[in-house]
């Protein structure tokens, strides 16, 4: 009993206890840092997942809009064949609005996509002008065959974009 008491009272024993305490603190501190880093990595991973989901949702929206644009172009082709010039004016305007909306909502899309949309917008505007002039004056009826050659190229171009965006969802 005296020995134990002497041991507890000795300076050496106190120093040993202090040393053990420091070691425990260091180990505990290291564990805390490691846990914190793991949590941060997990939080970052979660944030990245959320961002990826947001981007996929954006791509899905873009696919839907491009599909709508393509459907409208197909309808425009049919209306050209039917010489439904009055109805066409409305379709041109709707499609142009949609293409502008796609471009605005996807400002970070690659330049080739923007170029295709720009090309389609200009072609549609010029066709619209020709049709408008014809409707007003009843002179120089637009050539449906030539119009449809251009529309077919726009369909091919936009369909390519749609497929590329579709393939990038979830990738």
């Amino acid at each position: 009993m005296d020995t134990i008491t002497k041991l507890f009272e000795s300076t050496v024993f106190g120093n040993i206890l202090n040393l053990i305490g420091i070691l425990i603190s260091i180990v505990g501190f290291a564990i805390t840092i490691r846990t914190a880093l793991k949590s941060r990595t997990a939080a970052q991973a979660a944030q990245e997942s959320v961002q990826k989901v947001r981007e996929d949702i954006k791509r899905v929206n873009a696919v839907v809009e491009f599909a709508t644009a393509l459907a409208t172009l197909e309808e425009i082709r049919r209306l050209h064949r039917a010489a439904a010039w009055h109805t066409l004016l409305e379709r041109y305007a709707n499609l142009k609005t949609l293409l502008v909306s796609i471009r605005t909502a996807n400002a970070d899309m690659p330049d080739p996509y923007k170029t295709s949309i720009q090309g389609a917008l200009t072609q549609l505007s010029q066709m619209e002008t020709q049709v408008e002039r014809f409707v007003m004056s009843q002179q120089n009826m637009p050539d449906a065959l030539k119009f449809n050659m251009v529309v077919s190229k726009q369909i091919d171009s936009l369909r390519e974009i749609l497929v590329e965006i579709q393939n990038s969802i979830g990738a």
Binding site: Q118, G119, L121, T122, Q123, Q126, P142, K146, F147, M149
Partner: protein, 132 residues
């Protein structure tokens, strides 16, 4: 040599068209061809008129620039452009060349010729001649 921005544009269009980095497409209008970049489209065409002096028919080449709303924002002919360079004939020559290359590219003439030549088989009169 002094160049306006329009003159520089024409030179760059010619270089890009010749080297295939600028691609042209047909439009519903005869003899009008279009190329686009992300926020602009450029069209090239020509008009025929009678010369003011001699009354002989002349061809003027025209370039049009459309903005991202597909609105025409600029239009100029080779005649207007010739006043912006030191060489009066340069603009006409360059724009004529752009037009011809644009037409060939948009209509797929080069590819058509290649396909036809391939379908015709070897050149029997010049068997040793390389096909390119």
């Amino acid at each position: 040599m002094s160049y306006s921005k329009r003159a520089i544009l024409v030179r760059r269009l010619l270089n890009g068209t010749k080297h295939g980095t600028i691609l042209w497409e047909v439009t519903p209008e005869d003899e009008v061809f279009q190329t686009s970049i992300p926020n602009y489209s450029i069209r090239i065409t020509y008009v025929r008129r009678l010369s003011d002096g001699s009354g002989a028919p002349v061809t003027d080449y025209i370039i049009q620039i459309y903005n991202q709303d597909a609105r025409l924002i600029e239009e100029f002919s080779d005649v207007e452009l010739s006043g912006e360079t030191d060489d009066d004939t340069l603009a006409y020559g360059q724009m004529e060349e752009i037009y011809n290359y644009a037409r060939r590219g948009a209509l797929g003439l080069d590819k058509a010729l290649d396909d036809i030549l391939e379908a015709l088989g070897p050149d029997l009169d010049n068997p040793g001649r390389l096909p390119f």
